[in-house]
């Protein structure tokens, strides 16, 4: 039977704790809780889950996965250090190959020790085409060469793995300007930039997306390591504010541990 009593202070605090522990942050949490404080408990929870889902439902600027005649489509993977870019680049290559696309990987992390070898390892294991440069060399040059190679080999998707970098490092962020320039000069019409967020990140995630978006348009997000205990809730303030959709999630270290983002499932996960 439906209760007509307002949701209790105790129940509101329970819900508030769930949201805060999931990294939604105090501001968005206060807003969402204030929206349901006059509802009855059942309606309150339903309304909360609906609002959370609505926050996440953003249309992608363009769906890079819809086949078109432009070749190659470029997917650039960016993000701060250690978030799972290299692993995700390999996972995307695998996913696209499974859908009968011809893919090529570009090892444009010329900065970190064994950055190239790590991606090369994945490419050899699953037989992906890979273009690499010199360790310590120019990342934009790798982008340039790999685009030409992808174009001449009639590749459907070129996936570019870049070096991890903190958004606070201006000189590293400026490297994206060089990469953008190369792709613009190649008349790349289908360049899709994906920012990788670690599910364990707290509210710094919002800073990361905001700043990266000032240097390259961020078209979509990948949230990794959701197989852990972190809920990845910082995506709520991020998507709420930036209206950039989460497109994929990483759920493990294997090549198949990669899924399309499902907003309803993600919201249910908060309350498990």
């Amino acid at each position: 039977s439906r209760s007509t009593d307002k949701i209790s202070q105790e129940q509101l605090e329970e819900l508030e704790e769930i949201l805060l522990l999931a990294d939604l942050g105090p501001d968005l949490t206060d807003y969402l809780i204030s929206e349901i404080k006059n509802e009855n408990p059942q309606d309150g929870l339903t309304k909360l889950q609906q609002q959370l889902t609505d926050i996440l439902k953003v249309d992608a600027a363009e769906d890079v996965l819809i086949p078109t005649s432009d070749k190659p489509k470029v997917i650039l993977i960016a993000g701060v250090n250690g978030t799972g870019k290299t692993t995700s680049a390999a996972k995307i290559a695998y996913l696209l190959t499974e859908q009968d696309n011809k893919v090529m990987l570009a090892a444009a992390d010329t900065f970190r020790a064994a950055g190239i070898e790590q991606l090369e390892n994945w490419a050899k294991k699953y037989d992906f085409d890979l273009i690499k440069g010199q360790y310590g060399g120019d990342a934009a040059a790798v982008v340039h060469d790999s685009y030409d190679a992808a174009h001449s080999r009639n590749v459907d998707y070129l996936i570019i793995d870049t070096a991890g970098r903190l958004h606070t490092k201006k000189n590293l962020m400026n490297e994206f300007n060089k990469i953008q320039k190369v792709l613009n000069n190649k008349n790349c019409h289908r360049c899709h930039n994906l920012l990788v967020l670690d599910a364990t990140v707290g509210l710094n995630g919002l800073q990361q997306v905001q700043i990266f978006n000032q240097y390259i348009p961020v078209h979509g997000l990948i949230v990794t390591k959701l197989d852990g205990t972190a809920k990845g809730g910082c995506v709520f303030p991020v998507v709420h504010q930036m209206r950039i959709p989460v497109q994929f999630i990483g759920v493990g270290e294997g090549i198949e541990d990669f899924q399309f983002f499902d907003p309803e499932k993600f919201v249910r996960g908060l309350f498990n």
């Binding site: 250090n81 020790a113 606070t168 670690d198 364990t200 800073q207 852990g228 972190a230």
Partner: protein, 290 residues
């Protein structure tokens, strides 16, 4: 930032000569929000604020002091105290001493292992970097490149066994009088039972004097979960907080320290070999307060 906000809250109140409960409650709301925005764990924030309230209510405010400054000082001092007062060095006991680095995927273990070895070399140790990650592609190569670049002795991973990699390294260290052995282990989730058993196995067979949890400074509320689990399973001797060269407030530092009691020994402040510093609680407190 929090300091100016608390001060503003009080300048609008009349001077009474002591802090009333209502005065403090107003400040506490701002403190709570600032700490949550700094990624301090929800439960830790709750306890911290209750603590501050107890300390602040009734506190005398002399004509020369502004009430807001009194509260700010109480908060700052409490943060510094909780973060740990003195620097506690590595234990480094054993023949040879063994340091084991553990943590979640991507937290900075491999890079930190090399930094630690470099720092110990400068203190006249002769460390051996031991690659024990047989899972991540090119993990051993990554550590090898860092070792070679910085002229540090290196033992490659045994692709079949992390334990055998570590045992081999200790054996080599004994023969060559290398000290200490630094074990770089594979990143893993604290909820993966088999992988945690792997670490417990290495610990029981090699008896490391230092087991350091490497944590990404931008970790949010999950910091408490992972630190508690790793501590419960292994008994940590120290924490290393990485990527503090970013702009994350680093509330995870307070959460982990408060919940596990394990001291934070070092902080990573960049990707270069020298970017490893001793942990300073006062600096961390100012950073968390924003």
């Amino acid at each position: 930032n929090l300091t100016s906000r608390i001060t503003t809250v009080f300048t609008s109140l009349k001077r009474k000569g002591y802090l009333s409960e209502k005065d403090v409650d107003n400040a506490i709301r701002d403190i709570r929000r600032a700490l949550l925005q700094a990624d301090v764990n929800f439960q830790v924030v709750k306890e911290f604020c209750q603590n501050i309230k107890q300390q602040a209510v009734g506190e005398r405010v002399y004509k020369s002091l502004r009430p807001g400054d009194v509260v700010v000082k109480i908060v700052h001092d409490q943060l510094v105290e909780l973060l740990g007062q003195e620097y506690s060095p590595l234990k480094l006991s054993g023949m040879p001493p063994v340091i084991m680095l553990v943590g979640l995927q991507g937290s900075g273990k491999t890079t930190t292992a090399a930094k630690l070895a470099n720092s110990l070399t400068k203190q006249n140790y002769k460390p051996l970097l031991s690659a024990c990650d047989n899972r991540r592609p090119a993990a051993s190569e990554q550590l090898e490149i860092l070792a070679q670049k910085n002229q540090i002795d290196f033992n490659p991973v045994d692709p079949l066994s992390a334990l055998k990699s570590a045992e081999k390294a200790v054996e080599i260290a004994r023969k060559k009088y290398l000290n200490p052995v630094i074990l770089d282990t594979a990143g893993r989730l604290h909820i993966e039972h088999q992988l945690m058993e792997e670490l417990k196995d290495i610990k029981s067979k090699l008896n490391p004097s230092d087991i350091l949890l490497v944590v990404d400074a931008m970790t949010g509320q999950d910091a408490v979960n992972l630190a508690e689990s790793f501590n419960k399973e292994l008994g940590l001797t120290g924490i290393i907080l990485t990527k503090l060269d970013g702009d994350t407030r680093g509330g995870a530092a307070l959460s982990i320290r408060q919940v596990t009691g394990v001291p934070i020994k070092y902080v990573g402040t960049g990707e270069k070999i020298d970017d490893l510093m001793q942990f300073y609680p006062k600096r961390m407190a100012s950073r968390i307060l924003g």
